[in-house]
Chain length 139, copies 2
């Protein structure tokens, strides 16, 4: 645990699922509706700080989120990223992208090109429920 | 093969290594010195279009690039991303980041904050040579 690390001190979003190794949170930002993070529980910096089995375990969770996101949110594209320049505590962003979302086709870190796209709250609820069910089955 | 897909028609950078499943290229952009891409040979869109064994095979190559990049280029952070909004042909960006690079701590897709950081050409050559050697050992 690092005292000055946001992801050691806070969940990083609405906690959907966790085990000893990582947690899945829904990002609390209406601009990025449906976006999730998979966050290492331990304060490590890079994927190469994990051993091969741990790397696979983490990516299995990332790809599980992608799978359910794609099926339920019916987005046009999935974006995956692990940057951590500001918060060097290993975490993955899993982002549902739509042709008419604020930034498409640029990354969500680029200047917005149009107003945000809201997600129906019932759809979002269905997504998180199905994601939790799927994660309980696989990990 | 898709006729209108850049990554089906072109290598996507200087080819460093390949097998039947994916290739590793060095991005030909002085602004992003050392940046590599791992590109699926097949025209598929998302990681969830691969089966679990293929997902692991692709990530093993991504993490191999990360490992050698970190060791040889001694960067401050590694950034990994699979976006594909403009080119929906599965590919990973593996980016060496430095505290004094043009965009740090923002993503490389954000507005530059300072002049680019050049990498020593001998160092870059050492990196690509060690990367090729490592990839030949593991995959």
């Amino acid at each position: 645990m690092a005292k000055d690390c946001t992801l050691c001190q806070q969940s990083g979003g609405e906690l959907l699922w966790q085990n000893d190794f990582c947690r899945v949170v829904l990002v609390d930002d209406k601009q990025l509706a449906g976006m999730c993070r998979v966050i290492a529980q331990q304060h490590i910096k890079e994927m190469s700080d994990l051993n091969p089995a741990q790397q696979i375990a983490m990516m299995q969770v990332v790809f599980a989120v992608e799978k359910v996101m794609r099926e339920v949110l019916r987005c046009d594209k999935i974006n995956l990223a692990s940057l951590g320049n500001k918060t060097p505590h290993l975490h993955w962003h899993i982002m549902p992208r739509y042709h008419d979302d604020a930034h498409f086709p640029e990354s969500i870190w680029a200047t917005p090109q149009r107003p945000m796209k809201a997600l129906d709250s019932a759809l979002l609820q269905s997504f998180t429920a199905q994601l939790q069910q799927h994660l309980n089955q696989i990990a």
